[in-house]
Symmetry: D3
Subunit: 68 residues, 6 copies
């Protein structure tokens, strides 16, 4: 499947924390860490686990820009 | 200002494309490109221009995870 | 690629309207129309055109619920 | 109340799962299931329960498009 | 229609700027201005115009918190 | 840090409710209450507590408009 989301950054999962319905997944993208808040279901269905390769995917309209 | 968004990735602006009301800003984050779709107003107010340092900021609930 | 987004609804593209930087794509999902606002770039890269099969993809945290 | 969100799909609630602060609500839209991740508060306030009619509401800028 | 979005702030429209496909609508909420980026279609369908009463509606998962 | 998000409304925190991974923070903006759903981590890192000053920050593309 190819998706329209402009940002698809490949990395390695470094942490998976499950909550009651929502999990936090951390992916190391060449040294930068991206945190994703997704459903527990998605974690199970995709078999996400520490050490696995994964993409952080973000729609362009969800990215903000900041300056110091 | 410190913001709750979990993802604040520092990089360098490599492209700014203005539309009628919406601009696309591309930021090089250590080799990965992040694309942000923001208002023209924000581009002007923050003085965003190619070559400038900037952060791509994303709320954790807007990050998805994908696997091959 | 498999993605964590809980909502991946298959349908047929019935309209593509390009703006300056942002396009609107309408997909018929078994009689219901889903409208997506995505970048012109994504439209070109995925080759989206009327009559083509496509999925409307939505993260669960972006879905609200309403009642009459 | 009429809302600007382009996607307002009518269906029937088939599942409500409450977490600590966040609930998952599944709505059957003519055979397709939409999953919404909303606050427990909203579930209570709107009286959402299995079998009830409800709309899945999504802003166009939160819809992505994918192709096989 | 009652919607699950936790934030529904009533105010008066003070500006409507149409782009090619996307409009910016500004609403004065008791002195604070909220800016919404919505489709031109929605502006037309809801008859949004300066001076009209309107609500700015935001899902709780789209609100961030910042401190100085 | 200056951020592109168009909506940065200053107020006072009136409630912080922690869940398993996700917290709800309520901010009083001149009489209107904004509810934010953010990670527990962000609450800790920013030291958010009832009575503290804080901004509710929302990207324009996440604001919808409704009329009665």
């Amino acid at each position: 499947m190819k998706i329209s989301a402009r940002n698809q950054l490949k990395g390695v999962i470094v942490e998976v924390t499950k909550g009651a319905t929502t999990s936090h997944v951390r992916i190391d993208i060449g040294g930068s860490i991206m945190t994703a808040s997704i459903t527990n279901e998605a974690v199970d269905e995709l078999g996400l686990a520490v050490g696995g390769e994964a993409y952080a995917v973000v729609k362009a309209s969800d990215v903000m820009v900041a300056v110091d």
